[in-house]
Amino acid sequence: MESVVWQGLLASLAPTSILAVLIGVFVGIAVGIVPGIGAGVGLSLLLPIIFNVPPLIGLMLLLALWASDGYGASISSILLNVPGGAGAVATCFDGHPMAQQGKAGEAIGISMAASMLAGILGTFVLMLAAPPLAKLAVKIGPAEYTIMAVLGMTLIGGMAGKNRIKGLVSAIIGLMVSFIGYDLTTGFVRYNFGSTYLFDGIEFELVLIGFFAIGELMQAGEEGGTVAEFGKMTGTVLGGFKEALKRPLSIIRSSLVGVVMGVLPGIGITISSMAAYEVEKRFSKTPEKFGTGIVEGIIGPEAANNSCQPAALIPTLTLGIPAGSTSAVFLGALIMYGLTPGMDLFTNKAPLVWAMMWGIIVASIAYVLVGLIFANWFAKLTILPIEYLVPCTLVTCFIGAFVTTNSFYDLVVAFLFGLIGYVMALLKYPPAPAILGVVLGPILEKNYFRALLLSDGSHRVFFSGTLAICLWSLLALILFAPFLFKLFKKRRGIKSSS
């Protein structure tokens, strides 16, 4: 056993492996930065190329790309308030305000440290507990997923900002968008306006590009100026690194959120990073400061979306069940190399599996080293006039939209969502709840109807089982704890004064 671990480590440090990791890191950061394309697209673009490369090199390349995508995505969130990927939506909340204060370098530093440590922590969980965790994950059924989606809805409150009603409206817009196309339980097509293009619904990435990139950027372009004031650049990348390291509890907490959500097939990085943000806010002594550029507000989502990746590999490697679309592409690569997931992989191909797992750690360190070189240059983008920054980003976004499916309609849809996003931005409707709505809609819908199919139509299924009861209690706690806490405080106040 020990020798296998050691062999794997050595294999992951061989010069060819390091070269593969470095290429993966560069591509990963690039696809991460570009809004609308992420690790999933990056992996599918590289899949045909690695066909003729030995498995170890090819898989290291893919894993390094996948690991560094999350870090790259946070850069766009911080600098431009445009999430570079699905997992970086919540990073905008505090990352961008920090950049506006001239501390873009520090924000990037925090993101790097949190991403790296979470990636390493997540990989250790993968190394030590993969088989039992995967077994637990498949025990969770549609009824539990339905309750979890309801739990997810409570995240809207945290990201709605000052105006809760506007946040709710935004979330409802997102939910409505998510219901376009095939009903996954009945095959019935709804809200497609007679168009076959809309049969498969609207790609999540297009909504992200439209609402965030186009909508918000158009407004920024109108205002002009620069993101941060020239000459007011404070805070360094290393400073950010140290700030993050001072908060080990935040990193561990958020990484665990990422691991739990990563293991569950179908939940994914968007929800896990938003949930980690909310968890950090609840644990914070100064929750009112969230949204103004606070360190924990960056650590939360960044740690969660990076620990999600190794966690997503747990069901993929042990059961052959991909946890999301990116792991599905990765599973495709494994199959292409003739590697069958399951126990066989962990026994007969153990050195390769260990090399892959060490590879994620090597990649995590590599993107930090690469990131350190570029981070200060990236941070300087915030003092570039917005009228140059916005068009370049817009065009990149449209290319991103096109690359995903090579469809001209995608550009039209991204543009239309951009217009809606622009109007929403003008009227100060926050776009993040809409993104949450788009992601949660299908999880809620299909699991609700699946659960009813399994129970022959009885709603009792949602209240049976220990896990379901625990989840409902958690929901009650989240909804009512703040009131109870206030009430408790008041009473104590009365007592002590009398």
Binding site: L43, S44, P48, F51, N52, A137, V138, I140, G141, Y182, D183, L184, T185, T186, G187, F188, V189, T196, F199, D200, G221, E222, E223, G224, G225, P265, G266, P315, L319, G320, I321, P322, A328, V329, F330, L331, G332, A333, I335, M336, Y337, G338, T340, P341, G342, M343, I386, E387, Y388, P391, C392, L394, V395, I399, T405, N406, S407, R450, L453, L454
Partner: protein
Amino acid sequence: MRKYAWRKVLAMVLVIIMPLTLVGCGDNSAKNTENYPEKSITVIVGFNPGGGVDTAVRGIQPYLQKYIGKTILVENKPGNQGLIAMNYVGEQKPDGYTLIATTNAMSLNAMIFPESYKLKAAPEEALIPIYSWVNGDGNGIFVSKESPVKTWDDLVAKAQTEAGVKIAGSGIGSTDHITAITLTKIYGGNWVFVPMDSAGEVASAVLGGQVDAGSSSPGAASLDPSRINMLAVTLKERAEKWPDAPTFIELEKPELYILFVVGLMAPAGTPPEIIDKLEAAMDQARNDQAFIDWAENAKQPIGKEGWNAEAYKAYLTDYQNNMKALIPDIQEALKAAQGGK
């Protein structure tokens, strides 16, 4: 607010977009069938990268390239169960430079979902079969090893009880679903189909005990023989991976002979000379030892031999005729699912 900022933004967008519009503009005409192929050939895949069809195409691509002598570009156009790609390829010039790699279920999908199908020609006539290099997999019904159901007869008996059998499969209208509908028709009883998003989710629901059984390709990576008990397969002969699972032919239900066939097709009207050239190159590629080694290593269900245009067409015709009888049942099952909501 600066007044002119907007104009600058627009100007910059135009400046960047202008050169990009030139990309991809070139002379596409190539008329001489004798010199075919004169340029690269694009193969459209109607499914996502990393999926079954995609992997099969990527596997044969280097060898087809070797024998046809020009670059083969693989492009994914997923959506509408492969019909987006079928609509696209059906509208291309029949010059042999745009082909489609697809499964046998696609023309059936065109009949089940007529609103998704946009071509003028009938689904079975819109494309010409060239060659099939993957034809060894089909569908299988399986349970978890922990399940009290141990044999096919146990499952059929369970379907006759009030509780019935909850059977998971990927997607409405998929081969998994059609298999389940056919089961209901042949065996009667209470089979409730629970649609999932992917074969992985089906395996997950079976392993987690949320459903009684699953319907997936026996070759799927998510089906691990140490955890899964395969009860019966829709193949002609027993699968190597599941030596204990009988075929439905053995169970005397030959209607349940359903294969998963991946093949290359060209738009109707493609000159026969071009089809012949592609067929010959595909046959060489399929029988290249390096391809066979890869397929074996990657556990690709390529089957005993490749099918040439004639054999491929014969199977498709047979399959479509079998399935046509089922279409009213399938559409009725879909309607019932929609009405019940």
